[in-house]
Symmetry: C2
Subunit: 97 residues, 2 copies
Amino acid sequence: MAEDVFKALADPTRRHILDELVERGGQTLFEICARLVTKHGLGLSRQAISQHLAVLESAGLVRTRRQGRYKFHDLNTEPLERIATRWLRPDAPESTP
Amino acid sequence: MAEDVFKALADPTRRHILDELVERGGQTLFEICARLVTKHGLGLSRQAISQHLAVLESAGLVRTRRQGRYKFHDLNTEPLERIATRWLRPDAPESTP
DNA sequence: TTGATAGGCAAGCTTCCACTTGCCTATGGT
DNA sequence: ACCATAGGCAAGTGGAAGCTTGCCTATCAA
């Protein structure tokens, strides 16, 4: 849903996660936690990041794949490619609520 | 500044306001209120819309001009043109001014 | 001047969101 | 088997966001 994409992008922590995944795909939850601390100075709990990842995944911005006890996260830019052009083309046949 | 753009776009009512301003620029607050009711079925108070417009304006998405007792609102798409390309690859088929 | 229109300011309420805490399951190494 | 690692579930909390209500100012027409 495009609705969820906007809400997912509203939080600065989630945008930092996307920045991290764009720089290096296929990271686990613990890797993302560690990199958010060292590179962005964000000292959040593991659960907080996990919940943020759940929001990003349900918005379609993050794809996950399980492998053993690891869960790898990858960025999916496909939902991003439409949302910004919604108000940029006045003559586009837009009908999304 | 870009932080405020994401937060401004997070609310569905504000996105409907942008839809309205893209369709017809230079509307007053009362016009926007009326059109949100008749076209989108949103029954909100005048103050609610006014506060939404303030958020959009402080995010740079709406420009206002006073004329007598009227205050006209216009869309400014300039902040939108960068936010979506933030996580897109450099080879994305997007116009980069 | 009077009254109607267009808009603003501020307090209060309610719901939602981000975050934490504690406990749980599952996988893998030794 | 044991234990550390990787992750999930659920309840609880603080604060921000959205909306309303009431009152106020400013502009224009009669």
